[in-house]
């Protein structure tokens, strides 16, 4: 008898706790009509990928601040709501739902990786709220539906561009491809391998490694044995920095062409001397006045040099602001506005949208010269389609 009593008290206690807790979350933030135009940004603000999420968020924030300093949108301020997804797909749901349902945003920017972006995209599409993806490359993301747009080239395009560069700029004929095992590495490396072979080259070594790997000596030992004349590194800067420095240390001295993951100042810090001469896809024209102005302002405000995620977060916000100007501040108005954008010039360069809501843009490459990124080549989109 006593046991049942205890259980019932506990059940009641639990149930009431639960209800109180949920009611805490039911209060909508959008009460007391805020006149602001609210844009949601989600990304990894904590955890391993926090640098990318925060950098991208800063980029969006800066674009909003600049617009507000110029009087906002018809006198209405732009407010940024952020949500942390830790780059974990299931957290992507809670993060985007917080933005969509509690903050009632007019549109969303993904400052996150592909996994979390894909789960979030399904919810944005379902809620009919436009979402602009700033730097995730998985080709599947925009297939979630007509509300999902992207301001970054998909993996395949970048892979083609890297192959073209290795073949034409590097005059290489035997490529070793080392790629990080996830959707980013898989989509870029597959395209690079196919295009390199199509252009008459030979892929002599093609292997993946795990995200988070640090010791690449074994992989490099193997790659070296295949005797390549160029190394294609498809990776993020953490793994890429170590891979490049260990490759040079172990005497693998062929030219290196890399993916945009390495176009971050952290890559140079990690690889040190070994970074010298590495060429990487970068999605940004360093020499454009727009980028120079952005980089200068960003560094003044956040005390570090912006990387690709920051400049693309910035462009994602600029695209949304342009869409709101052309349409209106409702989600469907933003969608209509996005459809009206024909040619867009942001800080990373100029692009147009395809009917599949992907961009058509020149492919930029940087080279590391004297420990600094330098603009190296621009390849027209027609060549890397």
């Amino acid at each position: 008898m006593r046991r049942t009593y205890i259980n019932r008290t506990r059940a009641l206690l639990g149930a009431s706790m639960f209800v109180v807790a949920l009611l805490l979350f039911s209060g909508g933030a959008a009460q007391g009509q805020a006149p602001d135009v609210r844009v949601g940004v989600f990304g990894p603000l904590t955890g391993e990928a926090a640098a990318d999420g925060n950098g991208c968020l800063y980029g969006t924030q800066m674009a909003a601040d600049n617009a507000n300093a110029r009087g906002g949108l018809d006198g209405r301020k732009i407010a940024v709501s952020s949500a942390d997804d830790q780059a974990v797909p299931s957290e992507g749901i809670t993060a985007v739902q917080k933005l969509l349902t509690r903050d009632r945003v007019t549109s969303v920017i993904s400052c996150s990786y592909s996994g979390a972006t894909r789960t979030a995209a399904a919810f944005a599409q379902q809620a009919k709220v436009p979402m602009v993806v700033s730097y995730a490359v998985n080709p599947e993301i925009t297939k979630a539906g007509n509300y999902i747009w992207r301001v970054f080239s998909i993996g395949g395009v970048q892979g083609n561009a890297i192959a073209v560069m290795a073949r034409e700029d590097g005059k290489a004929s035997k490529a070793a491809i080392l790629w990080v095992k996830n959707d980013y590495g898989d989509s870029i490396s597959k395209a690079a391998a196919e295009r390199f072979a199509k252009l008459g080259g030979q892929v002599v070594f093609n292997e993946s490694f795990q995200i988070g790997d640090k010791d690449f000596t074994t992989l490099i030992t193997k790659a070296r044995a295949a005797n390549p004349d160029v190394l294609l590194v498809i990776s993020y800067y953490a793994e890429g920095g170590l891979l490049v420095s260990q490759a040079r240390r172990l005497g693998l001295s062929v030219p290196i062409y890399a993916s945009d993951g390495l176009s971050a100042p952290n890559f140079i810090e990690l690889a040190g001397q070994a970074a010298e001469g590495v060429v990487m896809s970068a999605a940004t024209n360093l020499n454009s006045p727009a980028y120079k102005a952005f980089a200068k302002a960003f560094e003044a405000k956040y005390k570090y040099l912006p990387d690709s995620v920051a400049s693309h977060g910035h462009d994602a916000m600029l695209v949304l602001l342009e869409a709101i100007r052309r349409g209106d501040t409702t989600p469907n108005g933003v969608l209509k506005g996005l459809g009206l954008i024909d040619k867009f010039s942001g800080v990373n360069g100029t692009f147009t949208f395809t009917p599949a809501r992907e961009i058509v843009a020149e492919q930029s490459f940087w080279k590391i010269v004297n420990g600094q990124f330098a603009q190296y080549k621009l390849i027209p989109f027609e060549k890397v389609k």
Binding site: A50, A51, D215, L219, T221, A238, L242, R249, G251, L270
Partner: protein, 291 residues
Amino acid sequence: MSVLPQHLLNGLAVGSLYALLAIGLSLTYGVLRIIHIAHGGVYMIGGMLSLTLLATLRLPPVLALATTVLVCAGLGVLFERFAYRPLRGANVIVTLISSLGLLLAMENLARIVWGPVPHSYPQFLPLRVYTLGTIVITNLQILIVVLTIALMIGLQWVLRRTNLGLATLAAVQNARGARLVGINIDALAVAIFAVGSGLAGIAGVLEGLYITSVDPSMGAMFGLKAFAAVVIGGMGSVVGTILGAYLIGLVEALTAAYISAGLRDVITFALLVLVLMVRPSGLLGRRIERA
């Protein structure tokens, strides 16, 4: 085939680092039955702290190393005193959750203090590369393997020849019996955590030198693999633990070499599961008496 020795050498270097970490785990489990997952966090703190000492404060390497070892040892003792000792005798899951909490707290604290990105580690030892035919050996690899083996021999000596060591071995065999014959488990616990955590700190410094970078996330998976080494080798057997560590290092290197680097963790942990299914107490382990 001529690259095989190279792969084995690479495996030995990584296995050494696992061994340095695994010792602490083996002793804490053996004596106190704590699955000390936060040990990987101590190793990470070793790497990050020494980075600050070397790069920002520009301390001489020996001083930086000594400070790191001391701080890590102190951290271990602190954990023992405030997180684990109050839980002594509780279900092993309780200490496990506490340990996971410590790891989570350390990782995220480090992300706040040092930032979430990896940092390049100061290379205070000039790199030397020796080429023997097709094999490339660096002085760092030699240092790591030799230093680890020396430390392990020293540890064996302490365990076999000193009162503290014998008390430890006795407690590993039978904790209740050890208490009955007057061994002070509290003092022993402090000693074990201090030594184990100090070794973890050394491992953090060596990893920084070898890999050339450190980051706040470096500890979690590394700690888990070190624990896998302890389990494979057999809990409560120091020799088994060291063996397990080298086995994992070699399996990882050979998987990367002959199967795929992308499958390394899958194969390592599949091996762990298989070993335990065939030999439930690990390769050299005895059944542990449940106190």
